[in-house]
């Protein structure tokens, strides 16, 4: 439902809301902070490379936190690194989004029980908007997560806070079992 899908009259006049235009602009040029922590970062790089081509969404990594609006936490966050992650997050301008990629940054991953050095979930130090499960997630999963971020941005607006937008998104959530059943029916 991009702007260009709307019917534009032949006089080049378009009636829409400020929210719509602003959000369209924001979600069409997400600039993630360019840093990776562990193996998930390799998948993130693969997603950025030509095969999966994130630039078609206007997404390409920036090397300065001051010019980034999205932080992809890709990989194991160690205690030593956690403080650096906080610093980077704090240097990003608002509105900013955080995508936690992979089991390690979601909940500590395989280090959950005995890893004395690993932060058990990056959401203990910075707020996370979207979690992408997997160890590591495939590029398709990351793209799915990024599209979720775009949906979230689309829901946000001048009068609608992040919390309300997240609530709206939750209402729209899909039951995975239903999808599986649908696919099974279609292929049967």
């Amino acid at each position: 439902m991009g702007l260009l899908d709307a019917r534009v009259s032949n006089r080049n006049v378009l009636v829409t809301s400020v929210d719509n235009v602003m959000n369209w602009a924001r979600l069409s040029s997400l600039w993630p902070m360019g840093f990776g922590l562990a193996c998930c970062a390799i998948e993130m790089m693969a997603t950025n490379a030509s095969n999966y081509d994130l630039e078609r969404f206007g997404i390409f990594p920036r090397s300065s936190p001051r010019q980034s609006d999205l932080m992809i936490v890709a990989g194991t966050v160690t205690m030593k690194m956690a403080e650096r992650v906080i610093t980077l997050y704090e240097q990003m301008p608002e509105p900013r989004y955080v995508l936690s990629m992979g089991s390690c940054s979601n909940c500590g991953g395989p280090y959950w029980h005995h890893g004395y050095h690993v932060l058990k979930g990056v959401d203990r130090v910075i707020p996370v908007d979207v979690y992408v499960p997997g160890c590591p997630p495939r590029p398709e999963a990351l793209i799915g997560g990024l599209m979720k971020i775009q949906e979230l941005i689309r829901m946000e607006g001048l009068g609608i806070s992040r919390q309300d937008a997240l609530k709206k998104l939750a209402e729209k959530s899909v039951d995975p079992q239903q999808v599986i059943d649908q696919v099974r029916k279609a292929t049967a």
């Binding site: 205690m79 030593k80 956690a82 403080e83 500590g108 959950w112 029980h113 004395y116 050095h117 932060l119 058990k120 203990r124 130090v125």
Partner: protein, 173 residues
């Protein structure tokens, strides 16, 4: 003894020859030879002479252990000791390999640093210090290398208790 020597594989026999050379020079400072086929080793009993032994191993024309493949830390709580295991090879000269064990007391013990003999030891000793807490005497830059500077305790000791919080962040799950 002859019989067991015959049963040794060629590789272990080569290590034994190298060991005999060191034993001849240092006598009681080192232990008997352990001829296990996986990694034959001896232990340095007189820890203070470790650097001399190391220099001899590197520079003697019959030994030429010019390559330190690895240095690992070990915790022996039942003996009250900490130790290191170093693996040596001789690249471009001989085919013999040998491991050397050096131990020190668990509380406040120290091992002489061999970072001036094999430069590889510099970071390896820092890692062993970081994980086990033994001091390497004469090391040029003995700081933690993996954990943050202000980390409490030595994580690979067998009785290690993880700290509750680190800079206000909860550590255990």
């Amino acid at each position: 003894m002859e019989e067991s020597a015959n049963q040794m594989s060629l590789a272990v026999q080569q290590s034994k020859t190298a060991y005999d050379n060191i034993k001849e020079r240092f006598g009681d400072a080192i232990s008997e030879f352990d001829a296990n086929p996986t990694m034959p080793f001896f232990e340095v009993l007189d820890t203070k002479r470790w650097v001399d032994i190391a220099l001899h191993m590197r520079d003697n024309s019959l030994l030429r252990f010019n390559y330190m493949a690895c240095l690992s830390g070990v915790d022996y709580p039942e003996e009250g000791k900490l130790g290191i295991v170093c693996n040596f090879e001789s690249i471009g000269h001989y085919a013999h390999k040998i491991a050397v064990k050096v131990k020190c007391p668990r509380d406040g013990g120290s091992i002489p640093s061999v970072s001036c003999v094999w430069h590889t030891a510099n970071w390896h000793e820092r890692e062993a210090y970081d994980m086990y807490g033994m001091v390497f005497e004469g090391h040029p830059d003995l700081r933690r290398i993996l954990c943050p500077e202000d980390w409490t305790g030595y994580p690979l000791r067998k009785d290690y208790q993880v700290q509750e919080t680190y800079h206000g962040i909860k550590v255990p799950y």
